[in-house]
């Protein structure tokens, strides 16, 4: 049993140490894996705001992940082919600048989250799960047949987008970007959780009637959480697309939504570090179990079942059971 703060520092420090060690040992692929962990963690930190703090079981977060990915893909595609992007009323040039792409990815994901949230949050429980799933599927099928941007084939971006002052093609530098963003998102999550908004949102999850009777609207709290959550997952999507230099409809697939939930549960719901632990485990399992047997997903399934049935706090819950209260 270790304290939560200790656990958080160990996991985050560990991720950084692995990447640095890989740099020293000249194992660039390990850095790539660590980057993948950081990005998947970021996506799950986003989901954790809705799911962990808000209790909103979104089975459609792939929608925002994919929108972020396509924001990157479309902007970079237009920059790469020197064609303007026609928005009907006016045209804009594409861009290969990461900060601009991130901003666009977050704004578009937030907008999508607002629209989906307005519809889905009128309901709760199973309806919410199924409706979010269905909307993500809608994006999936749409991009599948969206031939202007490659349809099922997706879009390849030949050179990773740029960040002022850095060479993003060097694995450790791109890892650095993702790692810093992940840390920023974790810090934001931490602040949110303890801020007035977090208290109200958490109360809306546990006792919505109470929140109403003190004069607050649970629906609005959830909507804001959902939008924030979507924006962060969208940012992760843009980074993920940049990691792969590729975007395709599979980013919208419902397996993606499921995997994001899996990351959180593996690590521990509503735990700050839960998504990171989950992402580390998932990538390690995927990579090493996948190398051992073609049927590795059976074992992934079995491990998930065991965690749901017997270790309901996830790994964070096993390592550092949550003490409650404050002061």
């Amino acid at each position: 049993m270790i304290s939560e703060r200790m656990l958080n520092l160990t996991v985050i420090g560990g991720l950084l140490a692995v990447a640095l060690a890989a740099l020293v040992l000249d194992q660039p692929f390990t850095i790539t894996l660590a980057t993948r962990v950081a990005i998947l963690s970021l996506a799950a930190v986003g989901l954790n705001i809705a799911l962990g703090l808000g209790g909103l079981v979104s089975f459609g977060h792939a929608a925002f992940f994919g929108i972020g990915g396509y924001a990157m893909g479309i902007l970079a595609y237009h920059a790469q082919t020197y064609t303007p992007l026609d928005l009907g009323l006016f045209t804009v040039a594409g861009t290969k600048s990461m900060p601009v792409i991130w901003l666009v990815a977050m704004v578009l994901s937030a907008l999508a989250a607002l629209l989906i949230g307005l519809l889905a949050l009128r309901t709760s429980g199973v309806y919410f799960i199924m409706i979010t799933l269905a909307f993500a599927q809608m994006f999936y099928y749409f991009t599948l047949s969206w031939s202007a941007y490659g349809g099922e084939d997706g879009l390849s971006i030949y050179i990773r987008n740029g960040f002022p002052g850095l060479n993003t093609l060097v694995p450790i530098q791109f890892f650095g970007i993702c790692f810093v963003i992940l840390c920023a998102a974790l810090y934001l999550f931490h602040r949110l959780e303890h801020a007035p908004f977090g208290l109200a949102l958490g109360s809306a999850r546990q006792a919505p009637m109470r929140v109403e009777t003190v004069g607050l609207s649970p629906m609005r709290l959830r909507l804001v959480a959902f939008v924030l959550s979507g924006a962060i997952t969208g940012l992760a999507g843009a980074l993920f697309a940049d990691l792969n230099r590729f975007v395709s409809p599979t980013m919208f697939s419902w397996h993606m939504s499921g995997e994001l939930i899996v990351l959180i549960i593996l690590g521990g719901v509503a735990r700050l570090i839960g998504p990171v632990i989950g992402a580390v485990l998932f990538v390690v399992l995927e990579h090493y179990l996948g190398g051992m047997t073609e049927f590795w997903k059976i074992w992934l399934g079995v491990i998930l079942l065991l965690i749901v049935l017997f270790a309901r706090g996830g790994v964070a819950g096993l390592l550092s059971p949550r003490k409650v209260g404050h002061d």
Binding site: R191, L199, A207, R210, T213, V214
Partner: protein
């Protein structure tokens, strides 16, 4: 006579064939405790829900300080000054006692759209919350998780959260339920003092408490108010004795 703080006019609600509220008109005046009694299934919960905004009446009005709030949400009624406690505690069980009280303070004093500074560092909210916890006798337990509280302590916390709102009128759903004899007596004392601040619409099964506290009593049977009056009048009312007290006795 001054304007009633809280008033219902002809509230009616039915669920299919079941009439849960039939032309209910009651009022709550400054400084009083108005108790609603009635056998199980008489429509007391339905009435509370209609007053607080959880259920839409088929017909009739709810007025708060002279204003029609029938179409308003629960939240806006709360902001207009309606404080409510629940029969089955509706508290954030994983949070601490203080956090629950501070939620009320936030609702009363501020808005939730603050995303950065820790809520516990907000001394204004904290002062209000701690003062109310103190009045409800819970200040010592403020760091305790609600899930670890006893049943009676949760009832106290229900009250404390309602206090943080400094409402113009209270609606309390069985605040004595499940309290032991000692707990009931203490709660009776608190409510007795509270009516000076804001009147209380009290739904309660504990007849001793009702007779000790109420200025007026309304008796609800099959969704209808069959009598309203002082404790003495109700005790003497034949219809009430037949419909309600008779069965109980």
């Amino acid at each position: 006579m001054t304007e009633p703080i809280l008033e219902t006019r002809g509230l009616t609600k039915s669920f299919g064939a079941l009439v849960a509220g039939d032309d209910i008109s009651i009022d709550l005046r400054k400084g009083e405790i108005h108790a609603i009694i009635g056998p199980n299934g008489a429509g007391k919960s339905t009435l509370i829900q209609m007053i607080c905004g959880g259920l839409k009446p088929d017909a009739g009005q709810v007025r708060l300080m002279g204003r029609d709030v029938t179409g308003d949400s629960t939240a806006s009624r709360a902001r207009a000054g309606l404080g409510r406690t629940f029969q089955i505690s509706a508290l954030a069980m994983e949070n601490s006692v203080l956090q629950n009280a501070m939620l009320g303070a936030m609702g009363a004093l501020d808005h939730p759209w603050r995303f950065w500074r820790p809520v516990l560092a907000r001394s204004d909210l904290r002062d209000r919350a701690e003062a109310c916890l103190d009045r409800a006798g819970l200040l010592e337990l403020r760091s305790r998780r609600v899930a670890d509280l006893s049943h009676g302590e949760r009832r106290q916390l229900e009250l404390a959260v309602a206090l943080t709102l400094q409402p113009r009128a209270f609606v309390m759903d069985e605040p004595m339920a499940g309290l032991g004899a000692g707990g009931s007596a203490r709660m009776t004392e608190v409510l007795d003092a509270l009516r000076a601040e804001a009147p209380i619409l009290l739904v309660e099964h504990d007849m001793d408490a009702v007779f000790a506290l109420a200025d007026r009593i309304s008796v609800l049977v099959y969704g209808r108010v069959i009598a309203t009056g002082s404790v003495g009048e109700i005790r003497a009312n034949a219809a009430v004795r037949e419909a309600y007290l008779g069965e109980d006795a």
